[in-house]
């Protein structure tokens, strides 16, 4: 090698990349599937030249060089093409000849992933594997006076209420006077959180909707799905399946036009309206659909030009303040459906959650509050927001629940918790912990993608290219060449599978605690944790 070969500050070697491709020359059949499937073109076909020194015996003649050429796989070291560890190459390789390996010590790429002065954006969730929810134990198991229930055979009632529940006194008065009752839905406590038609591929969306419809109509589980901002396919808006859907409206009002136009033709009311003010993954930040994913269909549904990035502002800019905005939006959305549909805001968990909640308790039309914690996921956000901003969900939710307890309004204003539930795969345990800390129901998004569609993302910065429209599984891409990889029927099947297993696991948790006839919302006396500070903060038992 020349001593003055151009090595710039940004020149990287393979060792500098967090993911390194291991390729076995002997096993490779050179079929080319790996390079064609790589979403980021991290690998390319390479031509290698090999030098062999032939040394004759006896030193009578000089050694000679023999050169041979062979073909193989080369990993690119340009930061723009850094391997994301999705392992699609391995999945398509007929001989298991290639795989990405994570090198924990290689951090150099981090310092070079902002070329051109643009910080890194990505999809997914915070790159941190820790989860406080996983540390919580369920421990109020009385073996003496309360026989544990048989989770498999006992009758359980696991539904929860979405909507403003009046106090008993108000309820009696309303009944006696035949007055207006706030709309309330009795639903399953695990809700599929907002992932928009725009963020997700049509196949993924269809699969989710089919799964939800099956759970409702065939299995009698009142499961609901939030649309996320960005509208809803016109056919769904006019179908009887709309009652299983929570329509999300956000500050960008994307897709709102489509919804308004469909109102007169709606056969059924939607389950609820969720007004999105914030996401846990990027608190105080708006939604962002990058231009890669704004194709013709998405542009049409959202009423925007094709191929432009669609940032949704972090606040409702037409209104003066958050208090006014929440009040007015709730009022106008309620009015749109004749006060027959629950309307609630979704905010990022933050130090102002309590302020928003306090305003809501005084608003008779507010149907709940969804809080998204720091571990919430998203299709596109700045790396710095995802990794370093936000408020953990457990303590934020607990504070909100305790505030409701103080004013005697617990369960009157349901709290919906989201963000990092099932992060390590422990969906039922995490959900049960949050319910016992005070959530009326929980929302999951990323888990659904991982369980139902095989999303490859992990908390170790794997994949995370949801924003670029190159999702290797076809979950978050609007490119038909990619999303046709995903079979909607199979997604629906997996949605049903994981809901049923969640149901069994939830029963396995609450049955030994002796609960069967009502969801154990606020049953914090059942919880313990071996971290004293966490125990003090959450008001649960400290156990070691």
């Amino acid at each position: 090698m020349l001593s003055n070969r151009p090595i710039t500050p940004s020149t990287l070697g393979v060792k500098d990349l967090p993911w390194q491709i291991e390729w076995d020359k002997d096993l490779c059949t050179q079929c080319g599937r790996c390079t064609s499937v790589c979403p980021v073109n991290a690998i390319e076909l390479g031509v290698f030249r090999k030098r062999d020194i032939k040394t004759p015996i006896g030193l009578k003649t000089k050694a000679t060089n023999e050169y041979s050429v062979f073909y193989g796989i080369r990993q690119r070291t340009d930061p723009a093409y850094g391997c994301i560890g999705c392992s699609m190459c391995n999945m398509v390789c007929p001989n298991n000849a290639i795989r990405p390996n994570r090198d924990e010590g290689s951090t150099t790429l981090k310092f070079h992933s902002d070329r051109g002065g643009n910080p890194r954006t990505r999809g997914g969730r915070r790159n941190s594997g820790e989860s406080l929810l996983d540390q919580i134990k369920f421990m109020r198991i009385s073996m003496l006076t309360d026989p544990a229930l048989d989770a498999g055979r006992h009758e359980f009632n696991l539904t929860t209420l979405l909507g403003r529940v009046q106090s008993p006194e108000e309820g009696m008065k309303t009944f006696a006077e035949n007055g207006w009752k706030p709309p309330v839905r009795e639903i399953y406590p695990l809700v599929i959180g907002g992932m928009s038609f725009g963020a997700l591929s049509p196949n993924m969306w269809e699969g989710l909707q089919m799964g939800v419809a099956y759970l409702n109509e065939e299995l009698g589980m009142p499961v609901r799905i939030s649309t996320g901002e960005g509208g809803c396919p016109p056919r769904l808006l006019r179908s009887r399946f709309l009652k299983y859907v929570i329509l999300q409206v956000a500050s960008g009002y994307f897709g709102w036009d489509e919804i308004i136009h469909a109102i007169p033709e709606m056969k059924v009311d939607p389950c609820a309206i969720e007004i999105k003010y914030g996401q846990g993954a990027k608190p105080g930040d708006g939604g962002l659909l990058m231009w890669y994913k704004v194709n013709k269909l998405i542009a049409a549904i959202r009423g925007v030009p094709q191929g432009i990035s669609l940032p949704s502002p972090p606040t409702h800019q037409t209104q003066y303040s958050i208090e006014e905005s929440v009040a007015k939006m709730i009022q106008s959305m309620s009015m749109a459906w004749g006060f027959r549909v629950p309307v609630y805001p979704k905010i990022s968990a933050s130090s102002t959650s309590l302020a928003v909640l306090n305003n809501l308790t005084r608003n008779p039309y507010a149907a709940g509050l969804a809080i998204d914690g720091e571990d919430g996921g998203t299709g596109a956000a700045y790396n710095v927001s995802m990794n370093h901003m936000g408020h953990p969900i457990a303590s934020n939710l607990r504070d909100c629940y305790n505030a409701l307890v103080q004013t005697g309004k617990q369960n009157e204003l349901p709290l919906i918790a989201g963000g990092g539930i099932g992060k390590s795969g422990n969906l039922a345990a995490n959900a049960a912990a949050l319910i016992m800390l005070g959530a009326s129901m929980v929302q999951v998004g990323k888990y659904v993608m991982q369980a139902a569609a095989g999303c490859l993302g992990s908390e170790k910065d794997r994949c995370n290219v949801c924003n670029l429209g190159i999702c290797p599984k076809g979950i978050t891409s609007q490119d038909p060449r990619l999303y046709r990889r995903l079979d909607p029927e199979k997604v629906a099947e997996r949605v049903v599978d994981f809901y049923l297993s969640f149901d069994t696991e939830l029963k396995k948790i609450i049955a030994p605690l002796g609960r069967s006839t009502s969801l154990p919302i606020g049953m914090a006396d059942a919880l313990g944790i071996s971290d004293r500070d966490a125990a003090d903060r959450l008001g649960i038992k400290y156990v070691v």
């Binding site: 006076t145 009046q166 009944f175 006696a176 009752k181 005697g408 009502s518 154990p520 606020g522 049953m523």
Partner: protein, 377 residues
């Protein structure tokens, strides 16, 4: 599992009859305490029906403090039963002092107050006295209400009954008696945690464990109703729910069952009161109990009831004859107390049922949650 026994009789009877029934049911670790609620009193208390009776245990200093406190409020003692045992107490029972039931005449001006206002005042006075007693340990106050005596003590029910000479004093014969034999299996012994619990004429006792205790307790406490406090026992909430349902919401006792164990949506779909009951289920969702429990209670009008949680893992049986009916957690207790009844008419409430016997002690009214309710509002 605690033993529960209740009697409702047209003629006053001795509380020992209920205690004997508890003794018949005794098994295992029973005998860590006894609680008695007496209503429809005979003797001199019957003449003083409108006078609130304070019941509790006091030391000498406690009695003096009580007198001072009560006099300051303008109450005057009319009749009292003060019993200071001189025999050594049974094993496990501490020496406490004087067991008292004192009837007072109300101060001037009380007649102008509504019944509800009077009720709140009496509850507040009981709480104040309880607090005073907790500071120094010289007073324990269980009830302060007309025509009501509550006795609680640690130890074997039969031995306590004999120790307190309950059989000999005809002044404490009563028409309605709730008795609980405590089996202390989970929490530390505390007399205030002993059943039956009492608030403004509503008394109840329960066996089993209330797994929904914490959320219900938090909800009741947040109602800001005088007397919704304490909760040394996970079962105290049952009394308060009954009080809340009947006194604060103005509902019939049959609706109590719909609050603590609402029907499923499928069962509600064909119910004649589905609209009302759906509303009730939603608004009172925080008060759903999750047992296993059998609840026996007594209401201000003299109605006695028994009901179960939805799991129905705790037994309960009601039986009797014209003039006297018993509510028991086991049939052997009922057999001991009312042996000459028609056993074929015994009723064991199932998960939808409430059994009610009115003050006339004529019959057991069997109510199912699937029945139409009387008009509530």
């Amino acid at each position: 599992m605690c033993r529960l026994f209740a009697l409702t009789s047209r003629d006053p009877i001795s509380p020992m009859r209920a205690i004997d029934a508890l003794n018949v049911m005794k098994e295992g670790h029973d005998g860590s305490g006894v609680g008695l609620y007496l209503n429809g009193l005979s003797g001199p208390f019957e003449e003083l029906k409108d006078c609130p009776i304070l019941s509790g245990i006091f030391t000498e200093a406690g009695l003096r403090r009580l007198d001072q406190f009560i006099m300051d409020k303008g109450f005057k003692s009319k009749f009292s039963i003060l019993y200071t045992p001189h025999t050594p107490p049974p094993v496990g029972t501490p020496v406490r002092g004087t067991y008292a039931a004192i009837a007072y005449s109300v101060p001037r001006g009380w007649e102008d107050m509504t019944e509800a206002e009077q009720g709140v005042r009496l509850v507040q006075m009981r709480l104040d006295l309880k607090k005073m007693g907790e500071e120094t340990g010289d007073m324990m106050v269980f009830s302060f209400w007309p025509d009501t005596i509550v006795i609680k003590e640690v130890g074997d029910p039969l031995e306590i009954g004999q120790y307190l000479l309950l059989d000999r004093n005809k002044d404490i014969y009563a028409r309605r008696i709730l008795a609980q034999g405590r089996q202390n299996t989970n929490y530390a012994i505390n007399l205030y945690a002993c059943h039956p619990f009492f608030i403004e004429g509503v008394a109840s006792m329960t066996n089993g464990e209330n797994t929904a205790f914490l959320p219900i307790k938090e909800y009741l406490e947040s109602r800001n109703i005088t007397g919704y406090s304490g909760y040394q026992s996970d079962s105290e909430v049952f009394t308060h729910i009954a009080h809340y349902a009947t006194k604060k919401l103005g509902l019939d006792i049959r609706a109590y069952k719909h609050i603590i164990t609402p029907l499923s949506d499928g069962e509600l779909a064909h119910h004649p009161d589905r609209e009302f009951l759906t509303d009730l289920k939603r608004t009172c969702r925080k008060l759903i109990i999750d047992g296993p429990n059998c609840v026996i209670g007594c209401l201000p009008g003299g109605h006695m009831f028994m009901t179960q949680d939805r799991k129905k893992f705790r037994p309960g049986i009601v039986g009797g004859k014209d003039g006297i009916f018993g509510f028991s957690s086991e049939v052997c207790g009922l057999n001991a107390a009312i042996p000459d009844r028609d056993k074929s008419k015994d009723f064991q409430p199932m998960h939808l049922d409430t059994a009610i016997v009115g003050p006339d002690c004529k019959e057991i009214i069997q109510c199912s949650q699937t029945d139409q309710l009387p008009r509530q509002l």
